[in-house]
Symmetry: C2
Subunit: 70 residues, 2 copies
């Protein structure tokens, strides 16, 4: 994988969130994950772990695999 | 997601590794991830993070999304 997976994942998360018409605040509220942490994930600055990946996927009602389609 | 994602991920990783005919030692050697840590991931005891998820996927030559097909 050439590009930094954190950047790829962050971009994919942002696009799935926007597809749903949600702000970062809304995703934070719905998922229980801090807005600032979500912002860092979307900017490609966080090495997010499995439990949060699945929590985010569940919240967006997508399969976790969808977050890795990049 | 009902079941613990760490257990689901661990089982999926073990099956992909075995499909490839690799031992945990071989995957550890090829990926640069400690065998003991890989064992913990496969037993569902580790909250593995994005960079290691992608390193494992690259090593097994599968798309990271494959590791989430559970």
């Amino acid at each position: 994988m050439q590009e930094d997976p954190r950047k790829l994942f962050g971009r994919r998360l942002a696009s799935l969130r926007k597809e749903r018409g949600w702000s970062q605040e809304r995703l934070a509220l719905e998922s229980g994950i801090a807005r600032s942490y979500l912002g860092g994930i979307e900017r490609g600055q966080r090495n997010v772990a499995l439990l949060n990946i699945c929590k985010i996927a569940d919240t967006l009602e997508v399969d976790p695999a969808e977050l890795f389609r990049f």
